[in-house]
């Protein structure tokens, strides 16, 4: 069920108090922007996509019945808008070659991560997320940060459960490799 405060705000907006929509934007803008940026990987475009998503959500508010969380519904619009944006331009894909993967397997990922300061880890994670393919970062953020389960992610993205699982598995692996790569570079800079 949807958050009662969100429901109250939605009722006010539907009744004509359009200004109340600003409160919903306030509440969800950062997460929506982060999710959009995780797909389009460009701040200007992410801002544009998030704005459009909020506007589309406002226009479709009459269709929102409150069966699911408002955030789930909004993030689905963000997801679709981001994917459309991505498809409208040539996607830049980052692929890891197999040689790198083999070399990195001996690298002690966990130990090196623990050596980092909290702030550094935060930066590393953001950098690594940016390098993930298409919507893998979106799925990873929903799973690890929003702590949504496979079914909820499938509902948010409109993907099938098996597709979510594949993206999660692929995203997790790639995230680890990207983090390892970043850690290696960091270590090299010290030597």
């Amino acid at each position: 069920m949807s958050n009662s405060n969100d429901i109250k705000l939605i009722k006010l907006i539907k009744a004509g108090d359009v200004g109340s929509y600003a409160q919903l934007i306030d509440k969800y803008q950062h997460m929506a922007f982060t999710l959009a940026n995780s797909i389009v990987k460009n701040k200007e475009e992410a801002e544009e996509v998030t704005q459009d998503a909020f506007f589309k959500a406002y226009k479709a508010l009459d269709r929102f019945k409150g069966d699911a969380e408002y955030s789930t519904w909004l993030y689905r619009i963000v997801y679709n808008a981001s994917i459309s944006k991505l498809r409208s331009r040539k996607a830049e894909t980052t692929s890891l070659d197999s040689q790198d993967i083999d070399k990195q397997s001996a690298f002690n990922f966990s130990d090196n991560l623990n050596r980092l300061e909290k702030q550094e880890r935060k930066v590393f994670l953001k950098k690594a997320l940016k390098k993930l393919k298409e919507d893998d970062a979106f799925v990873i953020i929903l799973y690890y940060y929003k702590e949504q389960n496979i079914e909820e992610i499938a509902q948010t993205t409109g993907l099938s459960k098996s597709n979510v699982k594949i993206k999660l598995h692929r995203g997790r692996k790639q995230l680890q490799k990207e983090l390892e790569q970043l850690l290696r570079e960091e270590l090299k800079s010290f030597i």
Binding site: V18, F33, F55, K173, L175, Q176
Partner: protein, 142 residues
């Protein structure tokens, strides 16, 4: 998937989970909210506000016709005819004690007279405000 692979995946899963404990969403640009609300308000103001008349088109003609018929009858019939008819019915003695009604009406009038003037002014003021509010509402919907 072998047990070793599964175990490695579980460890990595835990590492990523721990890493996400420090994660926080990026700050959306200041302009995002303003621009989104700008779009919303533009759309809202572009929408036509439809005025729904209290009396619909069909009923309007019936009401006007009925009113015109009543007006025509009132011109045709002499008021004295109605008064005489009323007297012939002799209502006051048969069904209603007119003296008691008159007395009660007199009591109401004396009660109203004893009310302070401010009550009258406040009532008139409130009615006037409601009337003005209704008038401007109608005006806004034209």
């Amino acid at each position: 998937m072998t047990d070793k692979n599964k175990n490695t995946e579980n460890i990595n899963d835990q590492i990523i989970k721990d890493l996400f404990n420090d994660f926080s969403p990026e700050q959306a640009p200041e302009s995002l909210k303003a621009n989104a609300m700008d779009k919303v308000f533009k759309d809202w103001t572009a929408q036509k506000v439809e005025y729904k008349p209290l009396i619909n088109q069909g009923n309007r003609w019936w009401i006007l016709g009925g009113f015109a018929a009543l007006l025509a009858i009132s011109f045709m019939v002499d008021a004295s005819v109605i008064v005489n008819y009323w007297k012939e019915l002799n209502f006051d003695s048969a069904f209603i004690n007119m003296d008691s009604v008159n007395k009660q009406l007199g009591d109401i009038v004396s009660t109203l007279k004893s009310l302070p003037t401010i009550v009258y002014f406040t009532t008139i003021g409130l009615v006037a405000l409601l009337g003005i509010d209704r008038f401007f509402n109608r005006l806004a919907n034209i």
